[in-house]
Subunit: 173 residues, 3 copies
């Protein structure tokens, strides 16, 4: 609104932009959207924060982060590979299905040259992204800082989160 | 804050508003919230973008968009019709349950005069809404532009998405 | 941008901030994130609105709000208590599993001193939070104002929602 008065010093708007993503899921398919968006945001010079909470806490927990899985259970958009045939929901809870579906999805993602979740987080941190852990989730899981990735900047409560997210575009994944 | 200096030319704020919805789910019940919100936003003169990714890609894929389904599996808020009795989770993965639940939900939605998903997207585009497809999802599904609705404006990557979403209110559904 | 011209009257930015959360899930684990964030936002003096729609409608429906449940079905981040062992997905739809998992989660939450959902909503309203019900969801469930918590301020349509959410940070949970 004050364009006529204040000179434009270039891409100020761009550098003022902030993206704050809440990662609440620990299934493989819902871990990736946050990582892909964060990575793109950092490439555009956007200040980027990832806040890990509830099931998403697995993404930064050392003992769990290498074993995120994918389940087709309840997902009616799961198709048999290379076809338009949906996987029958009655098959999806059968023993071994999670392992098979996880392996298939990991291959699909690797084939696109996209890193595994822990490596992708390494890359995001190297690009300047900020990782935060939720205090309530840490307490529910009885986990401490030493249980988490070393590059997590802190275990913070929801009030701290509200301060970090001020002025940002927010996503809950 | 500069109200005293800059004259108010009316509903400028309203016309500057932008809504960007990421559609990541392909289940029927999680397809509708984006459509209902987009439709309302367009009615208010808000610039509206829908970005289809992961399972939400089914919503714009010609061979799949007429067959979105609903599954009560894992959804503990699913009640037996007209009652407060919850559907037992042990029943929900049984053969035929997805078909039955889908049929029931489609009827509930049709009874309210709300169009089916492809028709609702027609209406959203006619009202000025923008549809975008995710490059990574297209590659994972081995789908091309010809496989998608003709009114999808492009298959774009996450960087393009960050540019489109600048200054917008964002939702991840 | 107009800092040099307009005097700063203190924490104006803070008090102008608005948070609008769409609550679309009725499972216990996805009811809490909205409540925790809303509570923190109110503590920071942020105008806070919760909009209950689809499965989230159960959170404000008198006959259902005391019986939200949790299901491990489809959630591959569900671990056996106190271990890093994942619960096998093939076990999760078995009879009694929802009840057991719900009881376990309720205890985990109570142990942290966090109130049950209806009590937490009481507290949010007492702190100035606003509760809104979705018209479409009310119609789908054939529910009226008398079926909902008395402190729900109204059953509103998506257009009303777009007006309430103007200028706010938005989350879809």
């Amino acid at each position: 609104m004050a364009d006529a008065i204040i000179p434009d010093f270039g891409d100020d708007d761009e550098t003022d932009r902030k993206l704050v993503i809440i990662c609440s899921k620990g299934n493989l398919d819902m871990a990736y959207p946050a990582l892909v968006l964060a990575n793109a945001a950092l490439g555009e010079g956007i200040e980027t924060h990832l806040f890990f909470t509830f099931w998403g806490f697995d993404m930064i927990t050392k003992s769990r982060m290498h074993d995120l899985q994918f389940s087709p259970v309840g997902n009616t958009a799961m198709h048999l590979p290379g076809r338009n045939t949906k996987m029958p929901q009655s098959l999806s809870p059968m023993p071994g299905m999670t392992q098979m579906a996880t392996k298939m999805m990991k291959k699909q993602i690797a084939d696109l040259g996209i890193p595994e979740v822990p490596d992708f987080l390494d890359q995001i941190v190297a690009s300047g992204g900020h990782l935060w852990a939720c205090r309530m989730s840490a307490d529910m899981n009885k986990l401490e800082e030493t249980d988490l990735r070393d590059d997590v900047e802190g275990i913070i409560n929801a009030t701290d989160f509200m301060e970090i997210s001020e002025g940002g575009q927010m996503l809950f994944i």
